[in-house]
Amino acid sequence: MEAHQNIDLPQGSIEKKTTTLNLGPTHPATHGVFQNIMEIDGERVVSTEQSVGFIHRAFEKLAERRNLYQITPITDRLNYCSSPINNMGWHITCERFLNVETPKRVDYLRVIIMELARISDHLICNSIVGVDTGAYTGFLYVMQYRELIYEIYEEVCGSRLTTNIGRIGGFERNFSNTAFVKLEKFLNEYPKVLKEFENLFTRNRIFMERTQGTGGISAARAMNYGFTGPNLRAAGVDYDVRVANPYSSYQDFDFTVPIGSTGDNYDRFLVRNAEMWQSISIIKQAYEKVQSFKGADAEIFHADVPAYYLPKKEDVYNNMEALIWHFKIIMGEVDLPKGQIYSAVEGGNGELGFYLVSDGGRTPFRLHFRRPCFIYYQAYPELITGGMLSDAVVTMSSLNLIAGELDA
């Protein structure tokens, strides 16, 4: 002890057994704005404290002054790896609240877009797990198919990342032929690429040793922590909103819900991969169903909701009635019914819920987003304590945390 007295170091820096490490908020290994103040003993994590909220934008407060359509762009910015699911989840919530029945063709078109979004979401997550375990190739290789998915979005709605896709009751316009051509290209080429991606990782010894047995959680703990989506299914609970509370005619499709057993990083990876295969199969089924509509039925792309569905632009310019409705909808002059609703969809990383309370005004009285990763990120200390620091990084990316959604 005496020998150290004359060394001028900050107090505690020598005698202390553990080191404090400040990981984030802007760190290349966190893939988003997450801060963790970790206590590490050598390379082992002793404890960690997360801090979140770095990109909090007060969406719930903003939503209280916006009409329904002005809220759609807000939902884009929740889980921005799968914006169309958020947009459609919000529109489906509004439709349920306003008792709007959507035609089957609209449901199937939505399913195509939502499953594409799920693939692009899982693709990012799984390939980033690869990057964090030292395999960059997979990530770069699959990017071109995410690009193709974004091109399909672009063809349907005009934008790529923050899509603002669709309307209450359906889509803003029918899918163009180019969209279907691109979709066919995707369906033809992507399975081979996914197979190759799996060949790179699934039985790769380095990858398996890095991911198996790290970041695991039991089914009971996962449920207690409010896990949903692939993370819960990896722990062995077969809960999927698409099956439990079908929306957008998911009951018409034949698909399985893949589950894991140990809830570790490897199982999460496998579940996401298996879900991508299921998504491909769902898209194929949906595309077949869409093609079976002939004649006038093949032109249906929205429900008949004049109070919420914007009239055609050429009518707005030439027709008084349409102009009035256009104005009323854009200015949000249509009052909502009174009441409240909770409606959920299966987002890219879990159950994305919308709790809407209306007092009969033109904007929601209160809108709460149930953001899946805000809830399951709480389990992070439990997942990584006792493990290696490098595994903590892999665990963070395999949880599919999206800062925009977490911080709302």
């Binding site: 979140v52 007060a58 609240f97 449920m223 959920a344 709480q378």
Partner: protein, 166 residues
């Protein structure tokens, strides 16, 4: 036997009598209220007896016109086995927004309660770490309460150049 909303309602009334009230069903979800002091008893009953073992969502709502019950805490619970959802709410006065914490039963309630505290100032009694989560620690108000309006959109005292509108 499927767990219907009527069965749930009967069992709750049988157990808690007139302390549970305002039963209604909208979009297939049964919702009801209880006084704030028995919220944990109700949640524990739902958990143990009726299988609502998953806390889907917990959030606050502010009704400034309901005197003595301005702040409402809403729980959404889910029974995975029967696939039934339920909504349960407790109301507290804004001067003394005390609600018992559900974080001992559900780990997931921990941050959701912190969020509700952050935005509505609900004091969750027994919570181990009740501090702000999304807003800065120095904030001295609860922004989702209705008494804090959003900025006036017609204000003209801002420098347009600073907001990309110059």
């Amino acid at each position: 036997m499927a767990l219907s909303n009527n069965t749930i309602e009967e069992k709750l009334v049988e157990k808690f009598g007139d302390q549970v009230s305002a039963f209604s069903t909208a979009s297939g979800i049964l919702s009801f209220e209880s006084p704030a002091p028995i919220n944990l008893k109700v949640i524990q009953f739902l958990y143990d007896e009726l299988g609502f073992t998953f806390l889907t969502d917990l959030c606050g709502v502010n009704y400034p016109d309901q005197k003595g019950a301005e702040i409402v805490v809403v729980y959404h619970l889910h029974n995975f086995i029967e696939n039934v959802r339920i909504r349960f709410s407790v109301a507290v006065p804004v001067e003394k927004p005390d609600v018992f914490t559900a974080s001992k039963l559900f780990e997931s309630a921990n941050w959701m309660e912190r969020e509700t505290y952050d935005f509505f100032g609900v004091n969750f009694i027994g919570h181990a770490n009740l501090k702000r989560i999304l807003n800065v620690d120095e904030m001295d108000y609860f922004p989702l309460r209705k008494e804090f309006p959003l900025e006036d959109q017609t204000r003209i005292d801002k420098d347009d150049e600073m907001f990309g509108r110059g």
